[in-house]
């Protein structure tokens, strides 16, 4: 058993980070210039880290598989970013943000990391404003806020429905400035295929140049991964098509541990699947639940009529609608956390009350909000005795100002007008709380290998709250790693430049080349895409919104069989020495096949329900998640090094000194 040391500093929770920061080891400016750092990924975490480390004077090499660092999938985040600013004077505080995040994560995250996240959340907003991020503002010129699920204060900062885009462009521009200054060397279209370790320390990576196929060796004193999550293991997810687990997974194969891989977030409000050809799913921001009311028909015959397109949502009278979230969770209503909202939608659809031809959709209705806003707008603008049509017109204008681009996106995809008809939504895979195991310094169990943002596991427990992913990515990149990396690098000031001709690099490069040759040599009959789709279906069926031991055992077997078939019958066209997206996919799917099995093993091992992990065997009589704190208050970290027959489990016990473990209730 590996002894997993969290390295959480001593002292009071609220003072740990401040004290630690003031006493940790530093690297002097003259030494920083002689130290090289590799940063993989240029999303919020990676770009923020690369830019900040460059500003500090380190020699940074940044890598992305995209054609430009501005394309990372952080860009697609819609709703917002949390910060405990308490600008709304509604009782918010660092402690409250900390507490909400711990509770929202169903008590499966590390207290000290989460508290630090809440502390630095305020600096993030200041930093982004200074960079020129155009956050939404009130008439007085000050920053606006809205609410997100699982909380009762208004602490989410936003830039219409494009918050991720604006934050990423801010980080991208900070990165561009460092590239211009020469502190960061940028490698576009380079995909990390392996981690290189020398004497147990991470000292570099092997990349494939996606334009030429060249296998390249890049050395540095340490390696930082900001490579995102692994939601695409499900094939259909809200992730971008190229998002993948390869950088993280190859690190696992070199000894890093994958923590809580079964903790995946199924987002409740996505546009439902429309056909077999579907390549990805599109999220409708959680911010819509501020004003949208979720419902299904009370009567099954109404649902059936809607499924058969004989009736529309607007045909169902008010008294025949079941606003099931408001009914079941009166305290939080439509703004319950994502895991709770997703499961509730599944329950209604499983009972046959779904509202799309497949029966897998519920309504998200803005009718009431449009009328409410229309009336208030009529009052404000002095329109007396406004007609119903006028109220609708004014109300639609308010809703458009708030959510215009989301409504437009919905209409483009579905061809339906959400101002007139309620939206149809269904849960879809969105985010992965699991990730590489890291300590308080964000360092993995491999010395000198760090993981930031969605790529690590540490802050969101078993369920992430809305608008917290952007917060964590930027916290890790701007305000945590620039300090904590010094704990490692201060011991490396006498280490000369790492030589990329070291035998460890040659061995790793050779093994990458062999993996590529193997993919071409199979020369089978089935496309990479078809295997990925089949893997996704197995994952969704047996490791999706609800799981049980029987299904998971079956799923593990099915994945093993699929993997064997993959290595005997996949077809990869073209050659390595060219731009070859099929080869890129083939290597990624190979890693997803291994990860998928570990996710199932993790879900099987965790005999409790918590957050996004719902084991059917463990639920309350009302169908709520039933945690087992006595046996499972730990981080499950899986080891599956190259040469090891199957994954093995290591544990970090979670200690809660400051919050009392309670059953989560949003009633």
């Amino acid at each position: 058993m590996i002894d997993l040391k969290s390295n959480v500093p001593e002292g009071e929770l609220a003072e740990k980070w401040t004290k630690y920061r003031s006493t940790m080891n530093l690297v002097a400016p003259n030494n920083k210039r002689r130290i090289e750092v590799i940063v993989v990924g240029t999303g919020l975490a990676g770009a923020a880290a690369a830019a900040t480390l460059g500003e500090l004077g380190y020699q940074v090499k940044a890598f992305t598989f995209h054609d430009s660092p501005r394309r990372a999938h952080s860009i697609a985040a819609q709703g917002g970013i949390n910060a405990a600013k308490n600008y709304q004077n509604d009782g918010d505080s660092i402690y409250r943000l900390f507490y909400d995040t711990i509770k929202g994560g169903d008590y499966r995250s590390r207290e000290a990391n989460v508290h630090r996240l809440a502390e630095v959340s305020r600096d993030i907003i200041d930093q982004c404003v200074a960079q020129g991020v155009p956050f939404a503002r009130e008439y007085g010129g000050l920053l606006a806020n809205r609410s997100f699920g699982g909380v009762q204060v208004s602490r989410t900062f936003y830039a219409r429905g494009q918050t991720g885009q604006q934050l990423l462009i801010g980080a991208y521009q900070a990165l561009a400035r460092q590239i211009n200054a020469g502190t960061v060397t940028m490698y576009n279209r380079h995909e990390m295929l392996d981690l290189v370790k020398i004497d147990g320390k991470a000292r570099g990576i092997i990349t494939r140049n996606l334009l030429t196929g060249e296998i390249e060796k890049h050395a540095a004193h340490c390696v930082v991964l900001g490579t995102g999550g692994y939601g695409n293991v499900f094939y259909l997810s809200t992730n971008a098509m190229n998002s993948n687990v390869t950088a993280a997974w190859r690190s696992v194969r070199r000894g890093a541990l994958m923590a809580n891989p079964c903790f995946t977030q199924i987002h409740p409000t996505c546009i439902p699947v429309s056909g077999e050809y579907q390549s990805k799913l599109t999220l409708m921001s959680e911010s819509l639940r501020n004003d949208g009311r979720v419902w299904v028909p009370k009567k099954k015959e109404d649902a059936v009529a809607i499924q058969q397109r004989k009736k529309k949502g607007t045909d169902i009278p008010e008294e025949d609608r079941d606003y099931y979230l408001e009914r079941r969770y009166p305290a939080f209503g439509n703004l319950v956390p994502r895991d709770v909202a997703s499961r509730a939608a599944k329950v209604e659809c499983d009972k046959g009350h779904g509202v799309s031809p497949t029966g897998l959709a519920v309504f998200l209705d803005f009718g009431a909000a449009i009328i409410r806003y229309g009336k208030s707008e009529a009052n404000k603008t002095g329109v007396k005795n406004a007609s119903h049509a006028k109220i609708l017109e004014l109300g639609e204008q308010v809703v458009e100002a708030k959510y215009g681009n989301l409504f437009e996106m919905y209409e483009k995809i579905t061809g339906e007008n959400p101002y007139k008809e309620p939206m149809k939504i269904y849960p879809a895979v969105h985010y992965t709380m699991g990730g590489l195991w890291v300590d308080y310094n964000l360092e993995t169990n491999v010395s000198g290998l760090f993981a930031l943002g969605e790529a690590n596991f540490s802050d969101h427990g078993a369920n992430r709250l809305g608008a917290s992913a952007l917060m964590q990515g930027l916290a890790d990149g701007y305000f945590v790693i620039p300090y904590t990396i010094g704990q490692f690098l201060s011991k490396e000031i006498r280490t000369p430049m790492i030589d990329s001709n070291h035998e460890a690099f040659n061995e790793a490069a050779k093994s990458c080349k062999a993996r590529i040759d193997k993919m071409f040599a199979i020369n089978g009959n089935q496309s990479v895409e078809s295997f990925h789709k089949r893997l996704g279906k197995i994952m969704w069926e047996y490791c999706g919104m609800a799981r049980n031991a029987e299904g998971l055992n079956k799923g593990i077997k099915m994945i093993q069989e699929l993997k064997a078939e993959y290595y005997s019958d996949v077809f990869v066209p073209g050659s390595n020495e060219e731009f070859n997206p099929e080869l890129e996919k083939a290597l990624r799917v190979a890693d997803f096949l291994e990860l998928g099995e570990v996710m199932m093993r993790d879900a099987l091992n965790r005999e409790e329900s918590c957050g996004g992990h719902f084991r059917e065997e463990y639920q309350t009589p009302e169908g709520e998640a039933l945690r087992n704190d006595a046996d499972f208050t730990y981080v499950a970290a899986w080891q599956w090094e190259e040469g090891q027959k199957e994954a093995s489990l290591h544990k970090e016990n979670l200690v809660f000194d400051n919050v009392e473990l309670k059953t989560r209730s949003y009633k």
């Binding site: 995209h66 660092p69 020129g132 009130e138 885009q165 971008a240 056909g275 895409e529 997206p581």
Partner: protein, 250 residues
């Protein structure tokens, strides 16, 4: 629906390119890229090389996808990226021509894939606020008028796809450059470096080989984010005034 596709195929930057015809069976609910997925699955099943095209988020925000469809960047729909275009806008029996962005500053890599790193270099030349992490004052210290902030946001929604360049008969990058110049100039945080920024970015744009702007307005018409021509006017004004207002030239 049955469609005929005329697709540009080109092995690499130096090879001679040509149009290749393919038949494909599509569903009206598919996105344009899902229709191409169907074609590629078919090609792979015949052990032929699939068509290379770029895409990532498939929800209109990352700026990766870039196809000229029937002569128009991102196709016939106003304010829509290629990935957001759906087949319900085409008819059974249609012939659709698909080409890459065509501009000297965007060399072709393969088939429909082009190199847009010129845009990154333009941003690197000055498209940022020079502020290090940790130096910022409180986010509410400087109030910004709501509409002004909204205007900055409108310019900042540029996704860097390059459709403006592909649409322009001169392959000019003025809409892209002016969107960034405007976004930052409209905010007090970016105003400080405005004169320097506009000169440096225009210099870099010229060095990359983009053409001149002759106010045809094609960029605005095809911009999937509907970035407005007024940004180009603002850039021209800022550029000219910077030449008089600062003694230093960049």
């Amino acid at each position: 629906m049955k469609l005929t596709l005329k697709i540009w195929r080109q092995k690499n930057a130096n090879a001679q390119g040509t149009f290749e015809s393919h038949q494909v069976e599509a569903d009206e609910h598919m996105s344009f890229l899902e229709m191409l997925d169907v074609l590629n699955e078919d090609l792979v099943s015949q052990k032929k090389e699939p068509v290379s095209f770029e895409h990532d988020c498939r929800e209109g925000i990352c700026g990766t996808c870039n196809l000229v469809i029937d002569g128009r960047p991102h196709g016939p729909n106003q304010g829509t990226t290629t990935c957001q275009l759906h087949m319900r806008h085409f008819k059974n029996g249609d012939t659709i021509t698909i080409e890459p962005w065509r501009a000297n500053a965007f060399p072709i890599i393969k088939d429909l894939v082009v190199d847009r790193t010129a845009f990154d270099r333009i941003i690197q030349s000055g498209g940022y606020v020079a502020v290090n992490t940790g130096q910022a004052q409180d986010g509410n210290a400087i109030p910004i008028e709501k509409d002004q902030s909204g205007e900055a946001f409108d310019a900042a929604t540029c996704i860097g796809c390059g459709a403006c360049v592909a649409a322009c008969p001169n392959a000019s990058a003025m809409l892209f450059v002016s969107a960034k110049v405007s976004h930052l100039d409209l905010l007090p945080q970016g105003k400080v470096e405005s004169a320097k920024r506009v000169q440096q970015m225009v210099n870099q744009m010229d060095a990359e080989g983009f053409g001149n702007c002759t106010n045809t307005g094609a960029c605005e018409a095809d911009c999937p984010k509907e970035i407005q021509l007024t940004n180009i006017a603002r850039l021209n004004r800022l550029y000219t005034s910077s030449m008089f207002s600062t003694s230093k030239k960049y």
